[in-house]
Symmetry: C2
Subunit: 350 residues, 2 copies
């Protein structure tokens, strides 16, 4: 599954900025993939992109209309259907992360069929995966793991991709959730695949690669979350990371949505190594990524300093202080990237 | 999902006994639920039940035609369709564990609709589950875990249900795979649910119950299997077992279908406790169930004796030597069952 770019972001008429979190994430990380935003009357969200009509978006070259909002119950309101059909008629594919499937809405399905356009329901993988094989593949992999869900794994992975590329590494973000898929244009929502194929989907997502290539894999859930640990373990086994970064939010006391207490960072490191060893005996924790938004800058600084000494690992908040220490650790442990040739040698034609 | 009983077992024209493993399992454990078997010309399998036609099966009271065979690729051969449609016309539901969905075969779907019968594709759960909640529920649970897939977890669970009931325990087998579902008439194929809902499906399967009631839960996969460990962990968290039995096949060297070496029994006990603690801090290993079919009786005896002393746990082969030592351990640790009142007190009408 690969989404055609550039995107036109559809915000509908959602009532607040939070509902447009997905669209905002796309703009934050891939502004140059976006030709503009479409907002219906009454829309209270704004990504800062130029407001366009569907027709103007098509004229600007948009290849995919991305429904970048969530709605109560994950449904697609009836009064959005006409806009989506217009986009299809104007030659665009359509992608959503809603629970409701585009293909289950007759008008949209008919328009897509008539005009030969793709409908991408990224929350409903249609692809067939093999079961995991477990063998070690070439290339390097860096996985984000968390003390909980929603602690900054996606942000850290995207920041690591950028930081590693800036440093000269050959690194690619690998998306495992819907927003990440829109941001990278490909990926698989691993929590939405059939249970037997979690590890297989993660293997597919991070295939054998050049020995110096890094897959930077967005994590999912937590090994200590009683609802989702199975997904986390399948992803860990399939991604077979060489390195992992623990993501944590220090003011949280119970796991998201349940009453289970948060594990310690030490618990997460120990368990991730114990289980990850099955498919990569060299698995190592290379750093800590802390979401300090609920701490003052002084508190954050003191806390990160304490963690860093306690665990003998770099600790940073990627949003506040960047990921340089985390990139340094990768370079130190696995070697600096090879200097790129100034100009790529031209490929020989076959 | 509850299958209507009794069953009429459909064997088609499969070429060997192995292809009828599911049907044979049903006959071994629930002979009194089966009115007979239907075999087409050329069938080389035989469960030992009376051969009946579809019409004779209907007359004998069959409520569900169970397609109890596997076929290359999990498909349903075209020449079986007429038999299935006849069963529907004769008033039966139909259930299969094939990959191919009954409802995707137009003639079968149409007949079911016309006659108001149910089609059960047990490999494709249609039910909606909540995500796991993680809270401790009343009642006791016993889970089978394995050093690998296909080491006797289902057999051990069924033997434990029987052994515990014979001893006076209030115990119910809980099926997590297709053959188990046919044998118990209900359950959920946990490896076939969407990844986010593995633990939730296991919680649904083993709901809050009387404090003295035991759910005896069929396991799936292994925490050490690189393809399926995510399923195993979600099931462990959702089932929140008080007790678990480790199932093992001592001559196997690598995990089924992959090159990963088999873990030791000690590894499995340690990891199951480390991870299972999240949803049940009291989790305990109560015994070892060993498939000794590739050992002589003397070898088996010596091996079980050695394991039993090494782990200070009862070790038996349920097929060869029964499960009494495993039932004894449950009674010793959790108390003998309360003697049942000779006659159930009549319920008061509301």
């Amino acid at each position: 599954m690969e989404l055609a770019k550039p995107y036109l972001l559809f915000l509908g008429d959602v009532h607040d900025q939070l509902a447009a979190k997905t669209a905002q994430g796309i703009v934050d990380w891939r502004r140059d993939w976006c030709v503009g935003q479409v907002r219906l009357e009454g829309c209270k969200a704004d990504t800062g992109l130029k407001d366009l009509s569907i027709a103007q978006g098509a004229k600007a070259g948009a290849k995919t209309l991305v429904v970048g909002v969530v709605n109560a119950g994950g449904v697609l309101p009836d009064h959005w259907i006409d806009s989506i059909v217009s986009a299809i008629e104007a030659g665009m594919d359509v992608a959503t992360g809603l629970h409701a499937k585009l293909s289950s809405i007759p008008k949209i399905a008919a328009a897509a069929k008539k005009h030969g356009r793709q409908l991408h329901d990224v929350r409903h993988p249609t692809q067939t995966f093999a079961t995991g094989k477990g063998g070690l593949r070439s290339g390097k992999r860096l996985l984000m793991v968390g003390t909980d869900c929603s602690v900054g794994k996606k942000y850290t992975a995207l920041a690591m991709e950028k930081g590693m590329r800036d440093r000269g590494f050959d690194a690619d973000f690998r998306a495992t959730g819907q927003t990440g898929i829109f941001i990278s244009g490909r990926g698989v929502a691993v929590d939405a695949v059939v249970a037997d194929f979690i590890a297989g989907a993660a293997e597919w997502l991070t295939p054998a690669a050049d020995p110096l290539h890094w897959d930077v894999v967005e994590g999912q859930g937590s090994l200590f979350h009683p609802s989702f640990a199975g997904v986390t373990l399948g992803l860990l086994h399939g991604a077979q990371p060489d390195a992992f970064i623990v993501c944590h939010e220090p003011t949280r006391r119970t796991m998201r949505g349940v009453q289970t207490p948060l594990p310690s960072i030490a618990d997460v490191i120990e368990q991730t190594i114990a289980l990850g060893r099955l498919t990569n005996p060299a698995i190592t924790c290379t750093g800590l990524s802390i979401n300090t938004e609920h701490l003052s800058e002084d508190q954050a600084f003191t806390y990160l300093d304490r963690l860093s000494r306690e665990y003998e690992l770099p600790a940073t908040d990627p949003v506040r202080f960047g990921v340089e220490p985390l990139v340094d650790a990768i370079a130190e442990l696995y070697g600096e990237p090879e200097p790129k040739p100034k100009k790529k040698p031209a490929r020989k034609a076959n």
